[in-house]
C-alpha cells in the first residue's frame, strides 16, 4: 500500500506533464490549404441554395414538433 500510493502519484504527475507539454506543440493542419480543392467545390457547400433551404426548413417546421439545430442560425421557432 505504502509503495502503491507514491507510484500512482508519480504516474499522475507524468501524465499531467505529458499533457502540458503536448499542449505547447503547435497543431499542424492535416489538410493544407492547397489540398482543399474538393472541399471548395460548390457541390460540397452545406447551403448551396439558401432561399430553397430556408423554405424547406420552413415547410418542415410547420408540420413537425421538432425545431432547431438545422445548421443555420435561423432554425427554430416556438410560436404556434
Amino acid at each position: 500500500m505504502g509503495f502503491a500510493q507514491p507510484l500512482a502519484r508519480r504516474l499522475l504527475v507524468a501524465l499531467a506533464a505529458t499533457a502540458a507539454l503536448s499542449a505547447c506543440a503547435p497543431l499542424e493542419p492535416w489538410v493544407k490549404p492547397y489540398e482543399r480543392e474538393n472541399l471548395a467545390d460548390p457541390i460540397m457547400a452545406f447551403d448551396r441554395y439558401p432561399v430553397s433551404t430556408a423554405y424547406l426548413d420552413h415547410v418542415f417546421e410547420a408540420r413537425e414538433g421538432a425545431r432547431g439545430a438545422t445548421g443555420s442560425a435561423g432554425g427554430g421557432c416556438g410560436c404556434n
Binding site: 447551403d47 432561399v51 430553397s52 417546421e61 421538432a66 439545430a69 445548421g71 442560425a73 435561423g74 421557432c77
Partner: protein, 387 residues
Amino acid sequence: MQLMNERRARLWLSAVGCLLSASAVGGVLPEDRADVLYHRYDGGGVVIDGPSLLVRKKFADKVSVAANYYVDMVSSASIDVVSTASPYKEERTQYSVTADYLRGKSTYSAGYISSSESDYEAKTWYAGVSQDMFGDLTTISFSFKRGNNDIFRNIGGGKDPTFKRASDQRSYAVGLTQVLTRSLIGTANFEVISDEGYLNSPYRSVRYFDPSSPNGYSYQGEVYPNTRTSNAASVKLSYFLPWRASLTGWYRFYTDSWGVNAHTGEFTYTHPMRDRWTFSGSLRYYRQDAADFYADLFPRRDYANFLARDKELSTFTALTFGLGASYDFRIARLPWVSKAQANVRYDFMTIDYDDFHDVRASALVPGTEPLYKLDANIYQLFLSIWF
C-alpha cells in the same frame, strides 16, 4: 372562423436561415448574389404559395449585408379547418435584414426579422459570432436569438378586440464545423430554445367523449403549458466522391419539456453533368413521439390541466423525396452578372399519423375512425445571379 392549425406563424424564423447561414462560416464573407424564388405547397386541403427575394452585397470586403422579403399566401381547407371551422385565406409577409462583419478570423453577425399577418405579429433580433481556428480547419460559432410575438384572434372577418396574448422566445445555439479529410467535412450543432407565454392556438380544439352528442363526441378549446424548452443536437457529414459528386448525411435528435422526442435523418446526392447542369436527389426521414398532453379523443371534458389535439404534437412518421436540377448560364447583355443559375425542385412529402383520426369519416364508436394521412407536393422555381 379562421384557424391557425397550419402553425404558419412559427415559420418565419426558419425562413430567415438563408440570411444568417453565413455566420456558420467564419473568416470568409458570403458571395454577392440575388435570388428570386416562387414556392408552392399543395397538400391536405392547403395551398400555400408566394415569392421570396434575397439580396446579399459586400462592402469593402469587411461587411456583408442581406435582405429578404418573403410572402406566404395561404388558402386552407385542411382537416382541422373542415372539422371545427370554415376554410379561410390568409397572407403572411416577412421582412428581414442581417449584417456580417469580418475581422480577422472572426465574423460578427446581427439581424432583425419582422413577420406580420392579420392575427400574428412577430419580431426577432439575432446576434452571433463565429471564429476560424487550427489552420482554418475548424470553425466554431455561437448565437443568441430573441423573439417577441403578439397573438390575436379573428372573428367574423375582423380582430376580436378582447383577445390579445403574447409570447417570448429565446434561443441559444453553438456550432462546430470541421474539415476532417481532403474530401470530408462535418458540422455539429446544438440549440436550446425556450418559450414563455401563450403557446397554443386561439382557434384549435380538442375532442372528448360526449354521449349526449349525436356523433358521440364534442369539442373544447385546447390548453397548453405556458413554457416550453427544447434541446436539439445534429450532425452533418458531406463527402466528395471520386467521380465529382457529393453525398451528404444529416441526423438530428430532438427532445423537449412537452415530451416530444424526434429523430430526423436525411441523405442528399448531388451530381454535376456537362459543366452547366447539376442534379440532386434527397430522402428525408422524420419520426416523433406525441406530447405528454396530446390525445386524439379525451375521456371527458376538462380531463387534464393541459389538452392538445394538434396533429403536429401527435405520433407520426414523415418521408420526403426530393429532386432538383440547376442550370448555369451567363447573360451577355448584363456584363456585371458574373454567373446566373436557373433552378427547379420538387419534393413529395407523405406523413402517416399513428394517433390522429380522420373525423370526416363517420364511425359507430368515436375514436375508431381511420387514421389520417397527409400527402403533399412541394414545388420551387428560382433564379440566382452572382455579381
